[in-house]
């Protein structure tokens, strides 16, 4: 059916049915002529108002599918295309799950307003004070180059009128869309109507979501558009990084990987020789925040191997396994401290020693880091 709508054919619409041009082979033509001569060109007993074959000027059209049946069953007929149209529609009104959900994501708020200010220097004054949420967002807006698209989206997001209009239409039980025009028309015109009809259907089906989105956006109506743009950017990109502190969204909804970069640092071995370690990200996940790990492929006396996502070998930390802001800060700090300050050259603690010991045990070598 989609191929017919995408074609360059002319279709005929009558009594909510789509009629397609009848193929003109001589036997069909003869049959059609006899039908019209008898005066009953395929009368339908179930639906006497619609004919099986109709004649328009010199052309014949044969009845195929009911427009509204196609509309109602399209989700089952072509799920892939339906979902594409649905996604386009939700995106048009910024109704995607991420866009509104991000404003009620408590984990994200915890990261932005409690954890980020701990790790990122946000004022040059000597006075120390806790920043208000607005000030944190102002600071982020200054430090991150949010593409213009998100600023435009933010303005559209704060314009509540289109959603109000949809809801009013749904509540007044007005037909979601006028029926397609009757008569001969190009397939492209019917296709355009069909796409609009699908979108109207999606909005009717997503009535609860529209209502909820409107509630969320009404609460945000006093926010600065540049602050809304930050959230929309995060909803889309899933991550930001400022001064070595960052986070990225995980596969699970509302769960994040929070990290802090160590920067380059130096450790010394038993003989006082220095080893320059490269920068790495020490991270914890809000899903299982109890153990910090190194994101990159990395080697260190406190890491078992030379690979990515290795847990740091640490002394037990007395914090509950709850992803509170203070627990996450504490665990991240312990992880960084372990890498930067944990190795004792005399005790050679950890899995590996920086220098080769007398008893040779094949282990990770750090010679390439020696300076």
């Amino acid at each position: 059916m989609r191929r017919l709508l995408d074609s360059e054919l002319e279709l005929f619409v009558e009594s909510d049915f789509i009629y397609l041009p009848l193929l003109l082979d001589p036997s069909i033509e003869k049959e059609t002529q006899s039908l019209f001569q008898s005066g009953s060109p395929g009368k339908n007993t179930a639906q006497p108002e619609s004919k099986t074959i109709i004649k328009h000027n010199t052309r014949h059209f044969v009845k195929t599918i009911k427009v509204h049946s196609l509309l109602d069953s399209y989700k089952a007929i072509n799920a892939h295309h339906y979902n594409r149209l649905r996604d386009d529609c939700l995106r048009k009104y910024r109704l995607t799950q991420g866009a509104d959900g991000i404003f009620v994501d408590e984990t994200l708020k915890k990261i932005l307003f409690l954890i980020l200010p701990h790790f990122v220097r946000n004022n040059k004054n000597l006075r120390r004070r806790k920043l208000a949420e607005e000030e944190v967002l102002d600071f982020i807006a200054e430090r991150i180059d949010i593409p213009q698209k998100y600023h435009e989206d933010a303005l559209a997001f704060l314009d509540l009128e289109p959603l109000h209009e949809i809801l009013r239409g749904l509540e007044d039980r007005k037909p979601v869309l006028k029926p397609p025009g009757e008569g001969l028309q190009p397939a492209s015109k019917l296709r355009a109507w069909f796409h609009e009809a699908i979108q109207a259907k999606v909005l009717a089906d997503e009535r609860y979501r529209v209502k909820k989105a409107l509630q969320v956006r009404q609460q945000l109506s006093r926010e600065k558009p540049e602050h809304i743009a930050i959230f929309l950017y995060i909803a889309d990109m899933g991550s930001i990084e400022i001064d070595g502190f960052g986070f990225s969204r995980m596969k699970f909804p509302k769960e994040y990987l929070i990290y802090k970069r160590t920067g380059e640092y130096v450790l010394r071995d038993y003989y006082g020789r220095s080893y320059l370690f490269p920068d790495c990200r020490v991270a914890v996940s809000t899903y299982t925040p109890s153990r910090p790990f190194v994101v990159e492929k990395y080697k260190h006396p406190f890491l078992r191997g030379y690979q990515a996502n290795q847990e740091i070998c640490m002394k037990a930390i007395e914090v509950a396994n709850e992803p509170t802001a203070s627990n996450i800060i504490r665990i991240l700090e312990e992880g960084i401290t372990a890498l930067l300050y944990g190795y004792d050259a005399r005790r050679r603690n950890g899995y590996h020693s920086l220098d080769k010991t007398f008893v040779y045990i094949p282990t990770i070598a750090f010679e390439e880091y020696r300076i």
């Binding site: 790790f119 120390r128 806790k130 006396p301 406190f302 640490m314 002394k315 372990a338 944990g342 603690n349």
Partner: protein, 128 residues
């Protein structure tokens, strides 16, 4: 005196000019800590540790500063003060870098971190 030597001398004069010292004690890996500003003549003769102790013994702190001090104290229970990756010793000027305020005034800055060492040793599958 060659032109190069003359320029070098001017540079030395600039470096030796008396400028204030800003000392900051930061708990763990936080971004900000407790700050104290020492005017020229009030820090040169004292050790860095002594200057740090002066900050840690301050009493007229705001609520935010008190919270930072608590954090520093927690780190110092078994922890140490580090500056630029090594335990502090000597004078502040040995660790200082010259910085400028937004108004263009020069000052020496010394960031000191209070770190409670994490020695490692326990892994969920028991490596040790």
């Amino acid at each position: 005196m060659t032109e190069a030597e003359h320029k070098k001398d001017l540079h030395v004069d600039e470096a030796e000019k008396l400028i204030p010292l800003v000392l900051e004690i930061i708990p763990g890996h936080a971004a900000e800590g407790l700050i104290s500003v020492y005017e020229p003549g009030r820090y040169e003769g004292e050790s860095l540790r002594g200057l740090c102790e002066r900050i840690l013994n301050k009493t007229n702190l705001s609520i935010e500063e008190q919270l930072i001090l608590e954090d520093i104290s927690r780190q110092l229970e078994g922890g140490k003060l580090f500056c630029r990756g090594q335990e502090i010793s000597g004078t502040a000027l040995e660790f200082a870098v010259s910085e400028k305020t937004e108004a263009g005034e020069k000052y020496f800055y010394v960031p000191v971190r209070a770190i409670k060492p994490q020695e490692g040793g326990i892994f969920s599958s028991g490596p040790e």
